[in-house]
């Protein structure tokens, strides 16, 4: 009864929202269903034969969820997932009610949801997951979360709700120490020790790279090497090496090479997470097959997507939301001859506090310039770069004017952008891109 009622309510509200000319109101149907039909989510998702899988963490949720969904689909599973950006409780309810039949029946085998860290415990309580994938906990939107420990606690609480198993980042001490120790299967993913320097943990973001390192007091250099953390068990899935678009993974005792469609070292790490999860879900599928299917996954929008514009400009759009993702983006996408643009907004969805930009090490840009800063905080972004000796060619707070400048710049441009600026840039770039050239959906 709840299934039927909730589904009908959700569909009716969504139809009403559309009638009023609003674009697919993602939260509204969820809000109404949450109020009128408590218990809807558990009731409707309870019918899925393979249960609910939740993917959460600070960075990589969208891409990793896409990887898991597409690999499962490639193996014939019917997968229910949530729309990008609908990763809070109401968005999940909206997504589910839109995709259910009118009767409340869900024509799917399994659900894979990307979940905002803050909502992960809430959704996990409302609809107990079989598996939870915990990617990482890093400083992000501290105006919202207060501190990193809070983020880790939220993710840990979601992990504790898992009924069958947990996949956790073995290189993130805040999360791996919070993984359940009994009752469920625990799978770890990670990167080889020699690659760890490419994937700084949150606590390692601060000392590095201010140009002060050469003046470091000797006492500190030794202090820095002391790391008393207990040695964690070897991860079941490990990223062993990467170069360009190639990655090598170890799954159990097998080593496998792949040429991935997604680029960027952080996405190779996300690939390890996705592999660990799909391998646990599909233990009978040969690992080689899973890796090949993973290699076919294309980037999610705003995560390394490339737009070709009529004048011949190639524009790559990259979401940056915190020091970890910005550093990874700089390391992955800035090459000789690339024009670099940075777009920074400070709306609620971006994080209103831009303090984190000072924890980004811009030294990969040393010796070159940032062609333009744009967005609401274009001026402060330029000021930030000045303190890392990176000249800025132009400050253009208006995103539309910035797109016009980018369109007139031949060659490769890479745009690092915070969330709300990314959404607008994506809309404008998609509209002007040569038809069929946007390399991802």
């Amino acid at each position: 009864m709840r299934r039927l009622l909730g589904t009908l309510t959700g569909k009716a509200v969504a139809a009403a929202v559309r009638l009023r000319g609003r674009s697919a109101g993602q939260a509204m149907p969820g809000r109404v269903v949450e109020r009128l039909v408590p218990g809807y989510l558990a009731a409707v998702l309870g019918q899925l034969p393979r249960g609910v899988v939740m993917v959460t963490g600070t960075n990589g949720k969208t891409t990793t969820t896409k990887m898991v969904v597409e690999v499962l689909r490639a193996n014939g599973l019917r997968v229910l997932t949530n729309a990008t950006g609908s990763n809070m409780t109401r968005g999940i309810i909206s997504s589910v009610s839109q995709q259910a039949h009118l009767t409340g029946r869900l024509p799917f085998d399994i659900a894979v949801f990307e979940l905002d860290e803050a909502y992960a415990p809430q959704v996990a309580a409302a609809a107990p997951p079989t598996w939870v994938l915990a990617l990482n906990a890093s400083r992000d939107q501290l105006d919202r979360f207060g501190e990193v420990d809070t983020v880790a606690r939220l993710i840990t609480s979601a992990m504790r709700a898992a009924g069958t198993g947990v996949v956790v980042n073995g290189d993130d001490p805040r999360l791996s120490s919070g993984a359940p120790t009994t009752g469920v299967q625990v799978e770890r993913f990670g990167v080889a020790p020699e690659l760890l320097r490419y994937f700084p943990r949150d606590d390692e973001l601060v000392r590095t790279g201010t140009g002060a390192a050469t003046h470091m007091a000797p006492a500190t250099v030794t202090g820095e090497l002391e790391e008393a953390a207990p040695v964690p068990p070897a991860p079941g899935v490990e990223l062993l090496a990467f170069d360009g678009d190639r990655a090598r993974y170890r799954v159990g005792d097998q080593e496998l090479d792949a040429r991935l469609q997604v680029t960027g070292q952080h996405n190779f790490q996300n690939g390890a997470a996705a592999l660990a999860l799909v391998h646990a879900l599909l233990p009978d599928v040969p690992v080689r097959t899973l890796v090949d299917q993973l290699a076919d996954v294309r980037p999610a929008f705003g995560r390394g997507q490339v737009y070709t514009l009529p004048g011949g400009a190639h524009v790559q759009l990259n979401l940056v939301k915190n020091p970890a993702s910005f550093r990874q983006g700089l390391a992955s996408y800035v090459r000789e001859g690339t024009t670099v643009v940075v777009a920074v907004n400070d709306l609620v969805a971006d994080g209103r506090d831009l303090s984190w930009l000072w924890d980004v090490d811009f030294s990969p840009l040393a010796g070159r310039e940032v062609a333009m800063t744009t967005g609401i905080r274009a001026v402060d972004m330029a000021l930030r770069l000045r303190y890392d000796d990176v000249p800025v060619g132009r400050i253009e707070p208006d995103l539309e004017a910035a797109v016009a400048v980018i369109a007139g710049t031949p060659g490769e441009t890479v745009v690092f952008s915070t969330y709300t600026a990314m959404l607008r840039l994506h809309t404008m770039l998609s509209a002007s891109a040569v038809k069929g050239t946007v390399t991802a959906r």
Binding site: R139, L142, D143, G146, E147, V148, D149, D203, L205, V206, R207, T210, G211, A212, H215, M216, A217, A219, T220, G223, E224, R352, D353, L354, S355, W356, L357, W358, D359, R377, V379, D380, A382, L383, R384, R386, Y387, D388, D389
Partner: protein, 237 residues
């Protein structure tokens, strides 16, 4: 000339971009032809004999308990430096620990060293938003506050300034931060110094003056800072 900057607890008190304060002092010193050296001083490390300027940041509430014992151990030395007029900028968590005491929301007592005559009580709601503070010495300061502690000044403790926007020490009495001699405690992240170069230069000047150097730093032409501050002035909480 070599200027010795001490960054206190860089591994524990670093969550809100306070690294930017260090970077700002380093660069503004270099742009004036000085040779700044950074000493990272963590738990168990001693402050160097030559200390010209001390910086501390904010961190996780849990880190506060971790470093408390060490702050007490360094107490005498820090008091000595304050008496000697060494400029200090202590932001958020380190500001609290340089006060008399901190009582967490759960009722746990953390003793401070009382460089600032202030007491802090953990609140249940964090005070988070864009802040502006009027000061006599440095003009208007812009920053971003993010703290659960409510800090009260002792009868004779001078505040850093008066809240223009935001909550400051406690959201009630209109004060922000504290100042004891050349030591400044404040809740402003942002980080504080790049948005307020007048304060950065004042700290550098105080450090130089103590070393017997001409305290007047050549001005730096900063149209960007003017624009940034004009925008900050119109920002909402």
């Amino acid at each position: 000339m070599t200027l010795h900057l001490v960054h206190l607890y860089p591994d524990e008190m670093n969550t809100y971009g306070d690294r930017g304060n260090r970077l700002t002092l380093l660069q503004r010193a270099r742009w004036r032809g000085l040779d700044p050296v950074v000493h990272f001083v963590g738990i168990g490390d001693d402050l160097p004999d030559e200390t010209d300027l001390v910086l501390g940041g904010g961190g996780q509430d849990s880190a506060q308990a971790d470093i408390q014992a060490d702050v007490l151990r360094k107490g005498d030395r820090l008091h000595q430096l304050v008496r000697d007029g060494v400029p200090m900028l202590m932001v958020c968590g380190t500001y609290q620990l340089l006060g008399r005491r901190f009582r967490t929301h759960e009722g746990e007592e953390i003793a401070g060293i009382g460089v600032f005559d202030v007491e802090t009580i953990g609140g249940d709601r964090r005070l988070i938003g864009n802040a502006a503070v009027q000061t006599e010495a440095f003009g208007t300061l812009y920053g971003f506050e993010n703290h659960s502690g409510r800090t009260r000044l002792g009868a004779d403790q001078q505040p850093l300034g008066k809240v223009l926007r935001g909550n400051g020490n406690n959201g009630e009495d209109g004060t922000e931060g504290a100042r004891t001699g050349n030591a400044i405690g404040t809740y402003l992240h942002g980080p504080l110094l790049p948005a307020n170069p007048v304060l950065a230069d004042a700290l550098l000047s105080l450090a130089l003056a103590r070393r017997g150097e001409p305290a007047q730093l050549e001005p730096i032409d900063e149209p960007l800072v003017e624009r940034s501050r004009a925008e900050a002035a119109s920002r909402v909480y």
